[in-house]
Structure formats: structure tokens, C-alpha cells
Symmetry: C2
Subunit: 201 residues, 2 copies
DNA sequence: CCCTAAGCGGATAGATCATCCGATTGTGTG
DNA sequence: CACACAATCGGATGATCTATCCGCTTAGGG
């Protein structure tokens, strides 16, 4: 699957047992994140049935493990971003992309902290975040050129705003279904404000 | 100043040395919060020049200490809320109140965690939060009755949204001045969306 | 089959947290 | 003022959590 080496072909492949342990650890971490249990590496080790040293060797910090867990989700977002760029309607493209982004953050607890972190542990995370940022910038610029969004919001505001919405949803709370609904309402409201406001012209 | 007993007249006053230590501890905590240093009670004790036991006796948990630090700020907000209720323009009143709220959260690091916490440690905090909530509800209802805000946002959304904005500002980062500016931009955008949107009628 | 290096795993040192209790000090009383 | 007693102090201490190090095991090429 998604072992580190699958991204960097220059590294010697992991030994079979190492790969197995890597999978176990990430699977356990995924489960913990889904249950909102904080990632403590000692704990992960015992749950995965491996030694503490093994976990620390693969992932130097809880953040590194969390980023690994988040990777697939980030990749899916980036992929959708590419599709959005192909949409001919600039506003619809931006709107759809942002909806997916918040929905992902609200659905997957691993995403929010990774998105909000100023500095990344893994190069892969940096790479993916950069890609997402550039897609967002492109979509926003296009929408702005089309006169569809107000001019005082910059590309650098997109990530913070999406994180803010996700955070607000968490504060609001509720069942998973509620949360998605809340996320939609909040984002819809924000987008209404994001639109260029012709009534002020 | 604001010792616990000043709010509950039924309790015997603190002994002189106890009051002095209480002040020292809160002052140190205030300073730590302002420097974004996490509140660790052992650490607070040594910085305040008191024993660990003393700190733990006054504040059972870091949250209790944080809530105490935040109290004066919450009181100021509640006071402003009362003034806002006196404003005859429903929209302006709501807008002003919300601006103050985010500004406070962005300015004072003790506020955000206290506002976002689902459950309070101190009764006083619960009381103040309830008061703020009811002011917010009143302002929102009034604005809605005046047809000034969209109907699909409830009073229960106000706190989460304000926390979300503050969080977004933190993710965005920058100097204190930048942060206040960012907060204003974000809130202005959100408020634009919060307004009733007549062009959809 | 054997050798080597990659990988394993847990004992353990180090840091942090929170409690408990003997020593100290403020305060009301005679 | 001297005393008694209760309130408060403070840090030694045990519990918990974090992360490293190193002797043992095992995969996999020759």
C-alpha cells in the first residue's frame, strides 16, 4: 500500500517484517484517530503488538504518525482539486472544492491538526499541502478574475478559514451526521459573504 | 481584587497570606498566558514563589486557573453585551457585540479555550458564559425579527462561529496588529453572509 | 547454509503530574 | 500579651507518561 518507499523510489525497500509492522502501526493509529483517542506512541505500540522501539523508529513523533494517517485523505483532496480546475464555471469550481475540504476535515479527525500545523514533520505532507495550496490559489484567482468573489480575501486566507469552519463545527458538536450538516450551513454562510456583493456597488 | 470570595459573600474571607498567594498565582498565570506558555501548575508554583501544594489547593486543575484568568475578560464582554442590548438598531447591536467578542478572543489567549470548552470547572465561568449566551440570543433574535439576518442560523451557532473565526486567525498568524486586522476581515466576510440576502428572495 | 545488517522490543532513564502530611503562620480569645 | 487552634504552606514523594538505547532476532543475498 502506502509505505514510505512507494513515494521515493531511490530508497531500498523495507524488509518484509518491517513493512508488516508499519502497516499494523498505521492501522492502529487510524482506528485511534477515528475514536478521538490521542496518539501516544507507547500506547500505539502495545495495541499494535509491537515494541515501543519499533514505533519510534518508524515515526519519530506522534505528529509524524498523524501525518501519515492523513496522507491518503490529503491525496484524495488534491485529486479532487485537479478535477475542480477542469470545471468551466469558476465559482462552482471553488465552491465545490471548499465543500470537499471542510467535509473532509469534519469527517476525518486526522486532517484538521495537520492542516493547521505551521510546520510539517514529513516531506510528503509538505508536498501535498503545497499542492493543495496552489490549487486553492488557482481556483480563487480564477473566481476573482471572473468577478465572483470579493477582492479583500487572499489565497492565504483559504486554509485558515476552512480550518476555522471545521473548528467551529467541532465546538458545536453533535452526531457525525449533524456535524456534516452544520459544516454545510457554516460554509454556505461564509461563502455567501465571500461572494462579490453587488448590492454594495 | 477579584478573589473567589468577592463573588460569594457567604464564604469566610481568605486569610491574608492565602489572598497574597492567590494574587501571585493568578498574576503569574496571566503573564504565562500572554506569552503563550502552557499553564503547568508545578511551573506556575515555582515562578510564583509558592509551594506546589498551594497552587493545587487554590486551583485543582490548569483549566480552573485558566478560567480564573479569563474571568475579568468575560465580565467585560458581558457588560458590553448589556450596552449592546440598549442600542436601538438591531443589526448594529449584533455586529458590534460580535466584533468585540472576536477581538477579545484574538487579543486574550485565555478566552478561546474557555469559550470552546463544553464543560466548566468553576461555577462563575458557567454563570458568565450563560449570561453571554443569553445576550447573544437576544441580540440575534431581535435582528432576525427585524429581518436583518438569515433564518437558518440559530443562537447555538454564535459561540462556535466566533471560536471558529478566532481559530482561523490563529492559523493565519502574524503580529498582534495583523491578527486583529485579519479578525476584522474574517468577521466582516462572515457577517456579510449572515445578513439576510434579499437578492435571493 | 551462513553471514551480515536491518529490524525488533522492552528495560530503563528522564520528565511531568498530583497528593499528602509535618511544619508554619494568621487570627480570635482570655 | 500569650496562647491555642485552625487555616495554610510547601516540598518530598509516588504515580504516570515519554523516549532512548542496546543486546537479541531474523530476513534475505551470496
Amino acid at each position: 500500500m502506502g509505505h514510505p518507499i512507494s513515494m521515493s523510489p531511490m530508497t531500498t525497500p523495507l524488509r518484509k517484517d518491517a513493512a508488516r509492522n508499519w502497516d499494523r502501526i498505521v492501522a492502529v493509529a487510524r482506528a485511534l484517530v477515528d475514536q478521538d483517542i490521542p496518539l501516544q506512541l507507547n500506547d500505539v505500540a502495545s495495541r499494535a503488538g509491537v515494541g515501543v522501539g519499533t514505533v519510534y523508529r518508524h515515526f519519530a513523533t506522534p505528529e509524524a504518525l498523524l501525518e501519515t494517517v492523513a496522507t491518503s485523505c490529503l491525496e484524495a483532496l488534491a485529486a479532487h482539486g485537479q478535477q475542480a480546475l477542469a470545471d468551466t464555471d469558476p465559482w462552482r469550481a471553488l465552491e465545490g472544492f471548499l465543500f470537499r475540504t471542510v467535509e473532509a476535515q469534519v469527517t476525518d479527525a486526522s486532517l484538521a491538526p495537520v492542516a493547521a500545523a505551521a510546520t510539517d514533520t514529513l516531506p510528503r505532507t509538505t508536498e501535498l499541502k503545497r499542492a493543495l495550496q496552489s490549487v486553492g490559489t488557482a481556483l480563487l484567482d480564477r473566481a476573482r478574475d471572473a468577478g465572483a468573489v470579493r477582492r479583500d480575501l487572499a489565497a492565504a486566507d483559504l486554509v485558515p478559514l476552512m480550518c476555522g469552519i471545521a473548528y467551529a463545527v467541532n465546538v458545536h458538536g453533535g452526531t457525525p451526521a449533524d456535524r456534516i450538516d452544520t459544516a454545510h450551513r457554516y460554509l454556505a454562510t461564509l461563502l455567501e459573504g465571500l461572494r462579490a456583493t453587488p448590492q454594495h456597488a
